[in-house]
């Protein structure tokens, strides 16, 4: 197993969380631990429950069963406004009746920092997302990319323990999206806050994340680093979702000394390290081998 992230303390601990909406089981017992300072992605096709999980962490909904701990504290019954998380909404949810600076300062009011300090922190946050000097702009005059930056600044200015991002880049055009992927990653490194990103774009998740939870139908199919996901997907479904792959029908010939010898139809005998073979490889078993880089040896 390569999902361990031993050196990191868990900041979000999701423990067998289930959630249904009427007949729809949006989450069926999801468990995961998100490490402090980690860039964590929830990746999966539309409707697999990513947003539902994010909303449970944020506190907009309560799980039917299971629990979520944030920084060691159980969150059951704690409303969204008292949780140390902030969210960047898919629609960005910029307040249309407030200008950019007022949007960013929105959550600071409760902290009663005083005019000067508030101003300083708003300016700092705007500079962080490359919007210095945009404070007096009306929010309706912003482009999609700028709205996204305002949403980021508005959340980051509160210095949350966890920043939740629901498909923050899906509304941007391709070029801007690629630029923002790099920028988000840089920003996350700079502020050191845990980011939990929801996306259905595998490239995005692979480029940006420390670890990725691949979700199908309300369950986590695999939770691993991008490297591991790419090289050793646990199932054909994960593999085909992650990207271009070659699938080989193969029969295991024998296992010896850390090597698995397999017979691939049409290719002949191949030896692979046991660590790369699907679990439970034993002589005589037939299966499918997925590989991004199959070498003949």
């Amino acid at each position: 197993m390569n999902t361990a992230n031993g050196e990191r303390r868990a900041i979000v601990d999701i423990d067998r969380v289930a959630k249904s909406f009427g007949d729809v089981q949006a989450l069926r017992g999801v468990s995961a631990q998100i490490g402090e300072g980690e860039f964590f992605s929830l990746l999966g096709p539309s409707g697999c429950g990513k947003t539902t999980l994010l909303r449970l962490i944020a506190g907009f909904d309560e799980p039917d069963s299971g629990q979520i701990r944030i920084d060691g504290q159980p969150t059951a019954g704690v409303p969204a406004n008292l949780r140390p998380t902030n969210m960047v909404f898919q629609s960005y949810a910029i307040f249309p009746h407030l200008n950019v600076a007022q949007n960013v300062a929105y959550g600071l009011r409760r902290l009663k920092l005083g005019r000067e300090e508030t101003r300083r922190r708003v300016d700092e946050a705007l500079a962080m997302v490359d919007l210095a000097g945009y404070g007096e702009r009306g929010s309706s005059a912003l482009s999609g990319g700028q709205r996204q930056r305002v949403a980021l600044a508005r959340a980051l200015v509160l210095r949350p323990k966890v920043l939740l991002l629901d498909e923050p880049l899906s509304a941007l055009d391709k070029k801007l999206r690629e630029q923002m992927q790099v920028e988000l990653r840089r920003l996350q490194r700079a502020v050191g806050i845990t980011f939990v990103l929801v996306t259905h774009d595998q490239d995005e998740a692979l480029i940006m994340s420390d670890r990725i939870a691949v979700m199908f139908d309300g369950e986590i199919a695999q939770l691993a680093s991008p490297e591991t996901l790419y090289r050793r997907p646990v199932s054909r479904r994960v593999a085909s979702f992650i990207g271009v792959m070659n699938f080989f029908d193969a029969t295991v010939k024998g296992v010896s000394g850390g090597k698995v010898e397999i017979d691939i139809a049409g290719l002949g005998q191949v030896e692979i390290p046991q660590a790369q073979a699907p679990g439970g490889a034993a002589a005589g078993r037939r299966g499918r081998l997925a590989s991004a880089s199959a070498r003949k040896c």
């Binding site: 944020a58 907009f60 409303p79 969204a80 406004n81 008292l82 998380t85 902030n86 969210m87 909404f89 898919q90 629609s91 949810a93 307040f95 249309p96 009746h97 929105y106 959550g107 009011r109 409760r110 508005r154 959340a155 509160l158």
Partner: protein
């Protein structure tokens, strides 16, 4: 388009124009006779005067009626808008048992004949031993104005993007704080439209006011009283003209704010 369809279109237009003339011709007579220099309301016209307006200026009873109407109108506007906000907010955001019938009952006065509402209210108030006053009129008017307030505010609340309220909560604001800092400012144009519509309806409502008023008549009830005196007719015309202009101004203002509310919250569709 075939010749038949074209002929049909022509007939339809002729019908619509005739219909509009019949509908609005009486209204057009108002300014004609309001400025007509004659003691009787009849053709032919006799020349221009503003003396019917100065009669209005010199009638203290009329001023009291105007004051009564403003009092009732403002109170009605405030109350029905507050009730409308509560009902609209609840129905736009939450599903609760009995929601459909409850909304149905709120909207019911819209289709009930006003005379029935008026008589029923009168019977109840008398049974309860309450004295008729301007406040009983307000009560009746709130009943008929709340459906309008609810309808306007409901669309304002429905058009409001829910994630804006969630964003506010997420940023640490309480539910109450969110209502005042995000929800209310965004539905404000709807609130203003509701105030204006309710005020306008209350201002010219007659039947309920007639039944429920005590010794203090509202403006329509006062006007009705004056109709018995032929000599007062021209000044009633002048008064009617003023009311017409005022109502139109209020309605246009209400529609202006309603459209603005729609733009702000991103919805569409017309009401007027």
């Amino acid at each position: 388009m075939s010749a038949g369809a074209r002929a049909k279109g022509r007939w339809l237009r002729a019908y619509a124009v005739t219909y509009l003339i019949f509908l609005y011709a009486p209204v057009l007579l108002l300014p004609l006779f309001a400025f007509n220099n004659s003691a009787v309301v009849a053709f032919p016209l006799k020349g221009f005067t503003t003396r019917h307006f100065s009669v209005l200026w010199n009638t203290p009873v009329l001023h009291e009626a105007v004051f009564n109407s403003l009092y009732v109108g403002l109170s009605t506007a405030m109350l029905s808008t507050i009730l409308g906000i509560c009902a609209a907010r609840a129905s736009a955001r939450f599903d609760f048992p009995g929601k459909k019938p409850i909304i149905g009952f709120i909207m019911l006065p819209l289709v009930l004949p006003e005379i029935i509402v008026a008589v029923a209210l009168l019977v109840v108030l008398v049974q309860l031993g309450l004295k008729l006053s301007l406040w009983t009129v307000v009560l009746g008017h709130v009943l008929v104005c709340t459906p309008f307030s609810y309808a306007i505010l409901n669309s304002a609340f429905l058009n409001l993007d829910r994630s804006l309220e969630e964003a506010s909560l997420d940023l640490g604001e309480t539910r109450l704080g969110t209502f005042f800092r995000v929800t209310l400012p965004l539905v404000a144009p709807g609130v203003i439209a509701s105030l204006l519509i309710a005020f306008t309806i209350s201002l010219d409502e007659f039947i309920i006011a007639f039944f429920l008023t005590g010794t203090e008549p509202t403006l329509p009830v006062y006007i009705w009283g004056q109709l018995r005196f032929v000599a007062k007719l021209p000044s009633v015309m002048a008064l009617g003209f003023i009311l017409l202009i005022l109502s139109l101004a209020l309605l246009f203002a209400a529609e202006f704010f309603r459209r603005r509310s729609e733009r702000q919250t991103g919805g569409q569709g017309g009401f007027l």
